[in-house]
């Protein structure tokens, strides 16, 4: 029976402090098939693949990985590569300054004897590998001169050059244009015809429907179903993906929306480097006393939207912004803060906190001028104000002098919130406010959001977690590839409807 499967993952369980990311997951892949792995963000797809590829070494998870009938114990990615498993992560792992050929054989250079690179063979082999993925470029081209789509293909060529038997693609089309994605899917089909087995992770159900032979759905760290594509029409797929009932996790309070506070008109954002459109002609309003949810797939342009509204995107922005009936310009973050805008960014360690500074210093970072006279900080006032919010938000910290790098994710997020609340914002943009936070802290963050709305702050929340969007928002805008794909009032919003718009359905 097992001869049929190239890979079996049996009863995989993986825990992180406080979170069970995978629970008793079983996942079987047949030789020569394209097997799609689908599920919501946070369902455990990436974690499962990290277990498979040795990113999480043997011993850090429960269960068995069986490759061609033999139990594997990978300690590193290298081990899994040797066994023929090649994973291509969402963030590309190419050295951009090096050429395609150099990248392809990085760490496994083709040599004359010892240590002297055989360039002729390297280029010949590279050309051959590029041919397999249908990429017609010079092997001496630097990777940074290639588009994202071509880079993706280079990654695949690299995996193939290592004699990968099992190719894992994690959201390969997330950053690609439609034509590029189309091309990639064509390549996958060609590879399948040549007998390469492939695990394909994607949010885009149309792609899944096109390339997959079988589909496995993960939800909340558990395997829900594995079935042939034919038995999984889109509506069943969506239902099994989102299938859970909304629980009381989302404390909801009755409220009515007031007057328009923020109006966005014809908002268009371009990538500063590639000049690609990230947001196209978006127009919407935010009212006092409501939480506006921005839903969409990863890379749909939501982060770009809130970042640019906060003035942190640079110059490649067009459109009008109206705050409380007056047109405002936000050329930079300082101006945004003065107007009463605040942004809790999606990556708090990278954009939100100075990890080496303590709780009070981080709390007052964006509002230091309010507690300073002639540039001299009133440190007692600093303690008073940061202590106030530590109390209010119930931040768990040994003291205000604790470096924020030592706090848990949820408490770090509360420090970021405190920082922005101290600026007394009128509009608070929250980008993935509960990412990487345990359930208890999530509920606390939701309560804080509700309190803020009660106090008259407008909250705009970007979230990739559908239950969160549905549970917290009074109104939902769905964004698909930079465009407004749909607007749903809370009453009419369902997971299926949001997903439908988010995946580009009409």
């Amino acid at each position: 029976m097992s001869g049929d499967f190239i890979l079996e993952m049996r009863n995989i369980t993986k825990e992180f402090p406080g979170v069970k990311a995978l629970e008793d997951v079983t996942f079987q892949v047949r030789r020569g098939e394209v097997h799609a792995l689908v599920g919501e963000n946070g369902a455990g797809k990436s974690t499962l693949m990290k277990v498979l590829s040795g990113v999480y070494p043997h011993g850090s998870y429960g269960g068995d990985i069986v490759l061609d009938g033999a139990v594997q114990r990978f300690a590193t990615i290298r081990d899994s590569e040797h066994a023929g498993v090649a994973i291509i992560f969402q963030e590309l792992a190419l050295v951009k300054q090096m050429t395609i050929a150099e990248n392809l054989f990085l760490g496994a250079e083709l040599c004359h004897g010892r240590g002297v690179i055989d360039w002729n063979r390297t280029y010949r082999e590279t050309s051959r590998a590029l041919g397999q993925v249908g990429l017609k470029v010079n092997p001496a081209t630097r990777v940074r001169d290639l588009g994202v789509g071509a880079q993706q293909l280079v990654e695949i060529a690299k995996a193939l050059s290592k004699d990968a038997r099992l190719l894992i693609l994690d959201e390969p089309t997330a950053a690609l244009t439609e034509t590029e994605a189309d091309n990639l899917l064509g390549i996958l089909e060609a590879l399948k015809a040549r007998g390469v087995t492939c695990i394909y992770i994607s949010h885009r159900l149309r792609e899944v429907a096109r390339v997959a032979d079988r589909i496995t759905v993960l939800r909340d760290g558990k395997t829900i179903v594995t079935d042939d594509k034919a038995a999984m029409p889109e509506d069943r797929l969506v239902r099994t993906m989102v299938g859970r009932e909304l629980t009381t996790m989302f404390p909801r309070r009755p409220r009515t929306a007031g007057e328009v506070v923020l109006a966005v008109k014809g908002w268009t954002v371009r990538d500063p480097v590639t000049d690609d459109l990230r947001c196209k002609d978006l127009s919407f309003e935010v009212r006092r006393g409501e939480i506006l949810g921005l839903a969409g797939l990863m890379g749909a342009g939501r982060t770009e939207l809130v970042t640019s509204l906060f003035g942190a995107w640079g110059r490649r922005v067009a459109g009008e912004l109206w705050l409380e009936g007056r047109r405002i310009e936000v050329p930079d973050e300082g101006e945004a803060i003065r107007h009463g805008l605040a942004l809790v960014s999606e990556d708090r360690k990278r954009y939100g906190l100075v990890l080496g500074m303590d709780v009070k210093q981080n709390s007052t970072l964006a509002s230091l001028r309010r507690i300073a006279r002639l540039g001299v900080i009133n440190k007692n006032e600093e303690i008073k104000r940061s202590a106030h919010y530590a109390r209010e938000l119930r931040t768990k910290t040994p003291s205000l002098e604790q470096k924020v790098g030592n706090l848990s994710g949820g408490n770090q997020q509360k420090v970021v919130l405190a920082k922005w609340l101290l600026t007394q914002p009128k509009v608070l943009f929250l980008d993935e406010p509960t990412r990487g936070i345990d359930v208890g802290a999530k509920v606390e963050i939701y309560n804080i959001m509700n309190d803020l709305v009660d106090q008259g702050v407008c909250v705009v929340m970007v979230s990739s977690e559908l239950p969160e969007v549905l549970g917290m928002s009074d109104r939902i805008l769905v964004i698909h590839e930079g465009r407004l794909a749909g607007g749903l009032a809370r009453e009419e919003a369902t997971q299926e409807r949001v997903m439908h718009h988010a995946t580009g359905g009409a």
Binding site: F310, A312, D332, E333, G334, A336, I337, R338, L343, S345, R350, Y351, G352, L353, V354, L355, G356, M357, Q361, L365, A366, L368, R369, A372, G375, V376, I377, K379, N380, E381, I383, K384, A387, A390, R391, R394, T395, K396, T397, P398, S399, L400, E401, K419
Partner: protein
């Protein structure tokens, strides 16, 4: 153990144990460096048969530390912000030479010469700031370029020859010399070995100001309802720190008095510690060095802060140049050679992290004392210059290694 902050506020007074433990925890680095300095002094005292520890030598040591200390004060802020300035040695030499030439060739008085020199330093800093902040050229390269350029310009304006200040009008030269070599004037004739009266009063004044400041801070905290030390512990702390200030002062009081240059450094130390710890500007520099993205997204104008920072560094370099020239009583073509390395080493030994976001002015002064003590002690021992360089290099390596090892814990 995590406790809610609310509970902290409930206690009004903190015990001595908590004070000591908390203080050691927060300032491990500085205590380590301070102990290292004491250790070095003890070793040299043995090796030089007590010559090292005489008031005369220590007083000299303090004067020798001055230029490095001034540069290190500025360098701390530059490194904290995530930059580096390699040009300070050459610019020190250049501004020193410019100042000398004002007095020698243009026969300007001390005051206008000093003021004009500070303006030159400011201009050089502005030049650096422009390239680093607004043209995004790495500070390493900008300052490396200036390191080379100003070394050349020194030769240009001195004509490649040492310009002794005796060539300047005599009154000017005499007054200028005071900046680098002079001591606080006395009411009665000062004699070596006798108590230097004005210096004594100055030390007492500093202690009084310090005590007054502490009490004011205490009252402010009480007004806010924050916990304060019980009176006896506050008194003990005051007494201990007064004793340290007093001891330091006494060394100079029983020699020739407090040198002007040491007063400059101490004043700059207080001023820059204030800037670093109590102003929005200083806080923003630490934030920029700690995480430039988070700083920018918190509304901090990163380029403007960088620009002002380099202007400040340029000015500090000019101050160091003036003091250095006054101490040497001449402008030389080799003035300030390797001074940038001493300044960087001082900052790093004093606990400044080259990764940015971390460092104190006080630590850098201790670091400068460590570096100068090594120079001074090894010279007293008549150690071959070969070994002097090697040992200084190794000490720097050791200091940073200790720092890294502590960080990993």
């Amino acid at each position: 153990m995590e406790t809610a902050v609310t509970q902290d506020a409930a206690r009004r007074e903190v015990g001595l144990r908590e004070l000591v433990v908390g203080s050691i925890k927060h300032n491990t680095k500085q205590y380590t460096m301070f102990l290292a300095l004491i250790g070095i002094w003890v070793i040299f005292t043995f090796l030089t048969e007590n010559v090292f520890l005489t008031p005369r030598n220590l007083s000299n040591l303090f004067v020798q530390t001055v230029t490095t200390a001034i540069l290190a004060i500025g360098m701390v802020l530059v490194i904290v912000t995530g930059h580096i300035d390699l040009s300070v040695g050459s610019v020190l030499g250049f501004t020193g030479a410019v100042c000398a030439m004002f007095m020698i060739k243009l026969e300007w008085g001390v005051f206008p010469s000093v003021l004009a020199t500070l303006a030159v330093g400011l201009a050089i800093g502005t030049w650096h700031g422009f390239w680093v902040a607004y043209r995004k050229v790495p500070a390493f390269i900008v300052s490396l370029a200036s390191m080379l350029a100003f070394r050349g310009l020194i030769i240009g304006i001195t004509g490649g020859q040492t310009q002794g200040l005796e060539m300047a009008p005599e009154a000017t030269a005499e007054r200028f010399k005071l900046i680098g070599q002079g001591y606080l004037p006395t009411f009665r004739e000062g004699v070596e070995g006798q108590v230097h009266d004005t210096s004594l009063y100055l030390v007492l004044l500093v202690i009084a100001v310090y005590a007054f400041g502490s009490l004011r801070r205490r009252h402010a905290r009480q007004r806010y309802g924050f916990p304060v030390l019980p009176p006896w512990a506050e008194g003990l702390k005051l007494l201990a720190l007064s004793a340290v200030i007093g001891l330091f002062g006494a060394i100079m009081v029983v020699y020739l008095g407090i040198p002007w240059s040491v007063i400059f450094v101490l004043a700059l130390m207080v001023l820059f510690s204030f800037i670093a710890e109590d102003t929005t500007f200083g806080r923003h520099l630490y934030a920029i060095g700690g995480n430039p993205d988070a700083a920018r997204l918190s509304g901090i104008d990163v380029p403007r802060h960088t620009f002002v920072l380099f202007m400040l560094m340029g000015m500090m370099t000019a101050v160091a140049g003036i003091v250095y020239t006054a101490r040497l009583n001449a402008a030389t073509t080799s003035a300030g050679q390797n001074a940038e390395l001493d300044a960087i080493a001082s900052a790093v030994i004093g606990g400044t992290s080259l990764m940015g976001g971390e460092g104190t002015i006080f630590g850098a002064i201790v670091g400068a004392l460590v570096m100068t003590s090594l120079d001074n002690g090894m010279s007293l021992m008549n150690l071959d210059i070969t070994y002097q360089y090697v040992i200084k290099g190794l000490i720097l390596l050791l200091a940073v290694w200790v720092d890294m090892a502590q960080r990993r814990k």
